[in-house]
């Protein structure tokens, strides 16, 4: 009995140690799993802003990181679904990570979505990823004119705005959880200059 407890304890300590090492190796500045509310969104983004105070990155790079963070966090807050039912979950929950290396900042979010949304998300991201910077600007102007706010007060401009501002493609991955839902991972990269 005692042995089992010790073993669980060791595994846990081992996990923490490995977790710490992984975070360090991946240069993760912030990792969070849980409800993503407006308060969390503001806290994380202002934390990042403060971290930038002694950064050598240009103001434009810093602003872009901040911008992408807010868009990604608000996306999870507004669009995450419940794992079992596939119904909207408010506030949404998910994972949020930001990491940096010599050349880029990477903002990653992961959240549950209903399977019927997969094609819509894929089509949208693929479409923006395929456009060159000029085409993106034109498409953006067209979309902002035509966009109508959704019930959740989103303008549907998050993905295109990230592609436009970062100049990089959005990477995504869908990991099927069950018949109703999948885990949607979105990775956005901001170049450092």
């Amino acid at each position: 009995m005692e042995e089992t407890i010790i073993e669980i304890g060791t595994n846990y300590m081992d996990f923490v140690s490995k977790f710490h090492r992984t975070i360090r190796n991946q240069k993760i500045m912030l990792v969070y799993e849980g409800e993503i509310t407006q308060t969390i969104t503001k806290a994380f983004s202002s934390m990042t802003e403060q971290n930038f105070e002694d950064s050598t990155d240009s103001p434009t790079t810093q602003k872009r990181v901040y911008h992408v963070m807010v868009e990604c966090l608000q996306n999870v807050a507004k669009h995450a679904d419940d794992e079992l039912t596939g119904q909207p979950e408010l506030p949404g929950r998910g994972i949020f990570m930001i990491s940096n290396n010599e050349n880029v900042y990477t903002v990653t979010t992961g959240n549950i979505i209903a399977n019927e949304k997969i094609e819509i998300i894929k089509t949208m991201i693929d479409k923006f990823n395929a456009l060159n910077p000029e085409e993106i600007k034109e498409e953006y102007k067209k979309m902002i004119k035509e966009s109508r706010l959704s019930e959740k007060a989103g303008a549907g401009l998050g993905f295109i705005d990230i592609v436009k501002k970062t100049g990089n493609k959005i990477e995504y991955y869908f990991d099927k959880v069950n018949d109703k839902t999948s885990f949607f991972i979105q990775k956005s990269v901001i170049n450092r200059d």
Partner: protein, 124 residues
Amino acid sequence: MELINIEATDETPKVILNSETHVFEFSGKSLPEDVTQFYNPLLEWLETYKSSPGNSTKAIFKMDYFNTASSKLILDILMLLEEIHEETSGVSVEWHFKEDDEDMEEAGEEYSDIVDVPFKSISF
């Protein structure tokens, strides 16, 4: 008309809508959870102003940051200003951006492409 004077918060901008001076100002950050709740009263105010606008109206934007949902509402404001300009030919927009803020400068350029209002970009 009633003066609108809203102080800035960490998620909404400072807004002044003054029908006596005919000067409107928007400055700060905009990333509220519900953009409509914040912007609808402003749009309603501008709709009313449109029915008896001044000969010359100046709108000053000095935004530090706004999210995409807010960018849509800012366009709605600019489109109302465009309608007022059609009536009065007296609307001017000043778009202020920090000298080193490329994206805010570009946002101004995009808006000026979309709406037909005299538009001046000013760096600070």
